[in-house]
């Protein structure tokens, strides 16, 4: 997992609520058995005018000029701004994979669907919850000013706007630490292997049928 601590970037506005994981990465692209390569089909149904099928070169496709991410100013955006309940729907982890593969590092929204939120953190994508009013202000600012930028500081847990206003956000200390250090969960858990084994032997004596 890649380390993350600070990032300044243009903010891409995706002005919709309930962006579901099927919109993020439509199911016809889930058939891969790999973890990478999904970025070209991120928001496929919105980004292109022709129906997307796996294996088709994006260069050959008809791009939807009205879709926000297709605007040049957002080509290098690493921060996505959206509305409430981002990432709802199917638990597919391909959604954060696609967002990361495309180049996003941070998603800011008033709320996220639980599974998506966790999947993102585990993959090094930082979901930031800010109050709906703050998000609304940001949308306004983004629409007002082409190439509006914000600074995200994970260490200090704030988002700083171009107007130098700092919005603090909450994140689990543990999760923050993992992101800051680029730590893999599995190695961390395996360092507690003895405790896991102790749990098993206790459970086995109480509920032996679980081990047959």
């Amino acid at each position: 997992m890649e380390k993350f601590s600070r990032l300044k970037s243009v903010v891409a506005p995706l002005d919709r609520s309930n962006v579901d994981t099927d919109a993020i990465i439509p199911k016809q692209f889930l058939k891969s058995i790999k973890r990478t390569g999904f970025g070209k089909n991120l928001f496929d149904a919105w980004r292109y005018l022709d129906p997307g099928e796996p294996g088709v070169d994006p260069e050959e496709r008809e791009v939807n000029p009205d879709f926000v991410l297709n605007r040049k100013v957002y080509a290098k955006a690493r921060i996505l701004l959206s509305r409430e309940n981002f990432g709802c729907g199917s638990s597919r982890e391909h959604a954060p994979w696609a967002l990361i593969d495309y180049g996003f590092k941070v998603i800011i929204a008033p709320s996220f669907a639980d599974i998506f939120y966790n999947n993102s953190l585990k993959n090094g994508l930082l979901p930031i919850v800010l109050p709906a009013t703050v998000v609304d202000e940001m949308f306004k600012a983004v629409f007002l000013k082409e190439g509006y930028e914000v600074l995200v500081d994970l260490n200090e847990k704030f988002v700083q706007t171009a107007e130098n206003i700092k919005h603090r956000f909450e994140i689990d200390d543990f999760r923050r630490d993992c992101l800051l250090r680029g730590l893999d969960d599995i190695g961390l858990t395996l360092s507690h292997a003895e405790e896991i084994k102790r749990f098993e032997s206790r459970q086995k004596s109480q509920q032996p049928w679980l081990y047959k």
């Binding site: 609520s17 543990f174 896991i196 509920q207 049928w209 047959k212």
Partner: protein, 471 residues
């Protein structure tokens, strides 16, 4: 000290260690695996040179990609085949307690085969790389859907890092009207509380209506807890739970069975347990439900109408109603019963169990699918369901009525195989998600109960099945 909720009991009995921030390492008893969310997890294990911690916790099947026709021809689509073959390879390389591969007689949708084989037992923690894992909560399991990284984590460590959820009690009391089923209950609940109400919560369903439901009905309810935003759905153990499990292939036997039952009886919320949130629902007021939009909360009673965006004051709500109606090809104020269908799909982990098929068959018996319906299909949830239905002659009822009778799998619930809606086609579906494109790009999904789907197939449009004397 106040009593404990069922959720709290399940949580407490699985904590391996707690971190200071409230995150806990939970031990996982049952790991259900299917072909879509597991390849990258196994790939990750291999890349890191790790092995599964405990293969006898694993129960696997291929369901999302498998065809529902011409099984003798195998899987034609090369990408689907690759996923299913990869699962075969991974399971044979690493091992499992049970594997029901493509064409196995016990193959089926992962959330159907777990309970019917006794692989899902009360008091367990159950995980699967699939959001509808909440289904298993009907057996008083702490069952949660996880992502592929977590699948890998559980494979490697037998544990899952979790934050404790808040508790939410939904009590459905009273008595249901005739031909109103579990699906209507859960759709009505979601319609009332919304798809975000359960976020951060584990929902326990209780009350006389829930107690009176069969295990199949309870699974339908818990299945869609996730559509109410909850990570898990839960229902207490009672006699029905125990009776359902008795004698199943993987249920405890002999002395274990006695001990297990004793333990399972404690798996209910204490009388004085306090929930973070409680909602009371009058079961008697629930009518058959039909979703009209692109989120499960966009739902109406069958005698209702599509909404009018003009009636919405909130601009965001107005826009979302408008967008949904547009996508669905519907105009405001249309009576639900005037919506006609191109296709009908009876299946999915929400409603493809034997009881669902019985209810649908009751409606179609001796009738014909309307000429205007291009395809009406029944996809049993598993090989066992299919065989049981055939034993009861349900397949004949369906076939004589003009339904296609298919092989088990997820099928048109998510259209990863050949079963899908064409753009613009409208479908009455017993599945759980009506999102844009869920059943095929441009497809329009109306979520309903099996009986409602069956009646719609016969009439060609939605009908109020309470008018029919069927019970």
């Amino acid at each position: 000290m106040e009593g404990k909720t069922l959720y709290q009991k399940l949580w407490d009995s699985h904590v391996v260690r707690s971190e200071s921030d409230g995150t806990a390492l939970l031990y996982i008893d049952r790991h259900l695996i299917h072909e879509v969310t597991s390849p990258q997890a196994f790939e990750g294990l291999r890349l890191a040179g790790r092995k599964p911690w405990r293969t006898d916790s694993i129960v696997a099947t291929a369901d999302h990609n498998t065809p529902t026709l011409d099984w003798d021809k195998g899987i034609v689509d090369p990408i689907s085949k690759l996923q299913v073959d990869t699962l075969d390879t991974n399971i044979s390389a690493f091992g499992a307690k049970a594997y029901f591969p493509f064409r196995d007689e016990r193959q089926g949708i992962v959330h159907v085969i777990g309970p019917e084989n006794g692989a899902t037992l009360p008091g367990m923690t159950v995980v699967c790389g699939d959001s509808h894992t909440s289904t298993h909560g009907a057996f008083a399991c702490l069952a949660v859907g996880i992502g592929t990284s977590e699948v890998e984590h559980v494979l490697a460590t037998q544990c899952l890092m979790q934050k404790k959820a808040k508790t939410f009690l939904i009590r459905v009391h009273g008595e249901l009207q005739v031909n109103v089923s579990a699906k209507d209950i859960i759709l009505a609940i979601i319609g009332q509380i919304g798809t975000a109400a359960g976020t951060g919560h584990a929902i326990e369903f209780a009350g006389t209506v829930i107690e009176n439901l069969s295990m199949e009905g309870r699974m339908t309810i818990c299945n869609m807890a996730i559509e109410a935003g909850a990570r898990a759905g839960l229902i207490a153990v009672d006699e029905k739970t125990v009776n359902y499990l008795e004698g199943l292939p993987m249920s405890p036997k002999g002395a274990d069975w006695v001990a297990a039952q004793n333990y399972w009886k404690s798996l209910r919320s204490d009388r004085d347990a306090v929930f973070d949130k409680v909602v009371e629902i009058d079961g008697g007021s629930i009518a058959p439900q039909v979703t009209w939009g692109t989120s499960p909360q966009m739902v109406s009673t069958v005698q209702g109408f599509t909404p009018d965006p003009k009636a919405e004051n909130d601009p965001i709500a107005k826009q979302s109603v408008q967008a949904a109606l547009e996508y669905m090809g519907l105009v405001p104020n249309t009576p639900i019963t005037e919506i006609s269908l191109d296709k009908v799909f009876i299946g999915s982990c929400t409603n493809s169990r034997i009881e669902d098929l019985r209810e649908a068959a009751k409606i179609v018996k001796g009738k014909r699918v309307a000429d205007t319906v291009k395809l009406a299909m029944v996809v049993p949830g598993s090989g066992l369901v299919k065989r049981q239905a055939e034993k009861e002659g349900l397949d004949l009822i369906f076939k004589q009525a003009g339904f296609a009778w298919r092989e088990p799998g997820c099928s048109m619930c998510l259209a990863m195989n050949d079963d899908k809606l064409e753009s613009g086609e409208r479908c009455a579906s017993t599945s759980n998600r009506n999102f844009e494109g869920r059943q095929g790009t441009g497809g329009r999904t109306h979520l309903v109960s099996p009986a409602m789907a069956a009646a719609a197939a016969v009439a060609g449009h939605f009908v109020d099945i309470r008018d029919q004397s069927l019970k």
